[in-house]
Assembly symmetry: C2
Amino acid sequence: MSKAPAASARVLVHGIVATADLFLRESQRIFRPHGLSAAQFNVLNLLAERADGVGYSQRELADALLVDRSNVTGLVDRMTATGWVCRVDDVTDRRVYRIQLTEDGRRLWSNVAPIYAQVVSQVTECLSTVEITRGVAVLAKLQEAATRWSAP
Amino acid sequence: MSKAPAASARVLVHGIVATADLFLRESQRIFRPHGLSAAQFNVLNLLAERADGVGYSQRELADALLVDRSNVTGLVDRMTATGWVCRVDDVTDRRVYRIQLTEDGRRLWSNVAPIYAQVVSQVTECLSTVEITRGVAVLAKLQEAATRWSAP
DNA sequence: GAAGATTGAAGCGTCAATCTTT
DNA sequence: AAAGATTGACGCTTCAATCTTC
């Protein structure tokens, strides 16, 4: 494996952050007309794709979204206020809430998810299957390396 | 050019955002012991690499950092409070401030920048030169496509 | 003591509206 | 009118500390 020159490595890292920033900004513009934020859309996505109706605990939500547990409190607060999710007491453990999608939440997700999917497909149609596969592999290597670095 | 399956395209987009998130989180942990945030490090970087001593206007900083102009006000406020940058009145246009590095700011940057560079090189040493080149190219295509989408 | 949830303080980011200067 | 900077309102995120329940 040939050694990576420092300059282009830095360009790659900066490019990843800049591209993610761009995606985030643009996705906010998609969600905003629906009163939704990117973080809230991710919550909707998780809940909607879980068919068993049990829902996620806030801790599970935090782990899945890769954010701090304390963050989920406010996120769920706001989504409860708008009526898209609700907190249900867990029957076996009184410490935990099960967060579940409401009717309104599911309806909103049904409207917004296809729009988001289409934008993703439009933006990525400039890439070939090989490029996508290689890109995913590079990202996986980087994540692995970064994780290994953070916990030596 | 072969068509990109929707599923893997979405994995790629998610991977970019997740990797950037991971980088951001880890870089915060590097900067924090120095009382610095990632956003502030970027400001230091811009100012330090501009040798002419003229500095950036806040508008120029906003454009370079890809953030809203209003955001820069608070960022510069905080960095002025810690004494790392200062606002200097522009001599030709009384609307604009020139933001310049202080002695302290330059010293801090001299300490932190090599640490950051080394972490970047450690995390990216798992990649070959070819992988980096291809990765950068994919990101450039995506940014171009996303930008084109946002302003049709 | 450990785990789930919450709170308060702080920084970062957007947007809309305002002020000053050009 | 247009451009640079600022303000206020709001959401997202982290961290440290606290409360309740296991």
